[in-house]
Amino acid sequence: MASFGNAFSSSIGKKLIMGITGLFLILFLIVHCFINALIFFNDGGLTFNIGAHFMASNWLIRAGEIVLFVGLIAHIVQGARLTFQNQAARPVKYAVTNGKANSKWYSRSMGLLGTLLLIFLIVHLSNFWVVSRFTGIPTVDANGHEDLYAVMKETFKELWIVVLYTLAMISLAYHLLHGFASAFQTLGWNHKKYSPIIKALGVWYSIIIALLFAAMPIAMYAGIIN
């Protein structure tokens, strides 16, 4: 009898789930980042609200949102499980470790960085997602679209939120810096020709995504875009 057996419960299978959901979230961040970047047109949010309206009204996107939450929750739950299992694999700790001699600090801190991102996500979802899906966006713009841009402006008047978002994007940059290339290694994509490209792409991706996202609350708070 052929079966998938312990394909997903084995140590490699658990990594595979982290890798696939991680890459899926990486793709999501590209879409999320570029739609949000429409605020940089600096037209009072008219273009951005068109994008936001499309995302909120297209049924394919709404179906995708369910897949996104499944992927996100799988990534978080599996990540937490792996972290606890990996800690249990060394019940007696070393008195002295010299991790910086052999690896990057952020590669060893994915659980911590992920936890910071989870705290950010709870604040972030209550700031925007809950408002646009449940409590309702209070105003409409000149085109008659729900004015999510106004919600953004209102939210980013608070300094602590801007600081929280900026710190979260630093966490995100480091989380991606390891996660991007790591996901490919987990999938078995280690190749002399392609791995250097993947690594370089991962570095650029992490920096650009985090910088663009961080620039949004900062620019709004500083009044660079109105």
Partner: protein, 256 residues
Amino acid sequence: MSTENMNLTLKVWRQKDHKAKGNLVDYKLSDISPDMSFLEMFDVLNEGLVDKGEEPVVFDHDCREGICGACSMFINGQPHGPLQGVTTCQLHMRSFKDGDTIVVEPWRAQAFPVVKDLMVDRSAFDRVIAAGGFISVNTGNAQDANSLPIPKVQADSAFEAAACIGCGACVATCKNASAMLFVSAKISQLAQLPQGQPERYRRVQSMVAQMDAEGFGNCTNTGACEAECPKGISLENIARMNRDFYSAKFVSEESI
């Protein structure tokens, strides 16, 4: 780097047996030659302890030529000490300075229980090998050189994987105590040669299952294992093992 004899403080993990609670014990050593190997320094320490009627420090060692994989020791937070590409027996005291304090601990992992002091039980590795790290046919005498053509890059890659001495430094240094570098090396040395093909996908499933059963952690691709491996085993082997595992589980119709 020191050229003069030196005085050192050692903090060595002492643990009576598997069940006992261990602790770090301080030892002062004087007039240590920089030309001694790290293990010879431990011989000096043990001779002193025996002279005083104390129990010597138990540690694993065998060939003292850097090829057997017996010696271990987690030295100042790194397996086999601060140098790259060497085992503890090939680490010399010239890598330390007069007045240094050196902390020496056993490999620490759920799957490597401490037997006594710095000696751990690495038979989990043996059981992983026994689960599938072999080929089940007699290969007979050496064949005529050209009867089994193997591309040079492939042969080289298999030989590089076969350089693994099974010392356990990868597990010791991994923050997750994962054995994936070891297991992937043992899989890769066979997966790239013709003799290893018939059992290739059965092997990867059996060995990974045994690795998991032994209680090793899960790989998070930090790369610490590759950096600390005395034989330079590459992370490419882990990627190959992952590929073979996926092929076995998702494509192959045979299951174990």
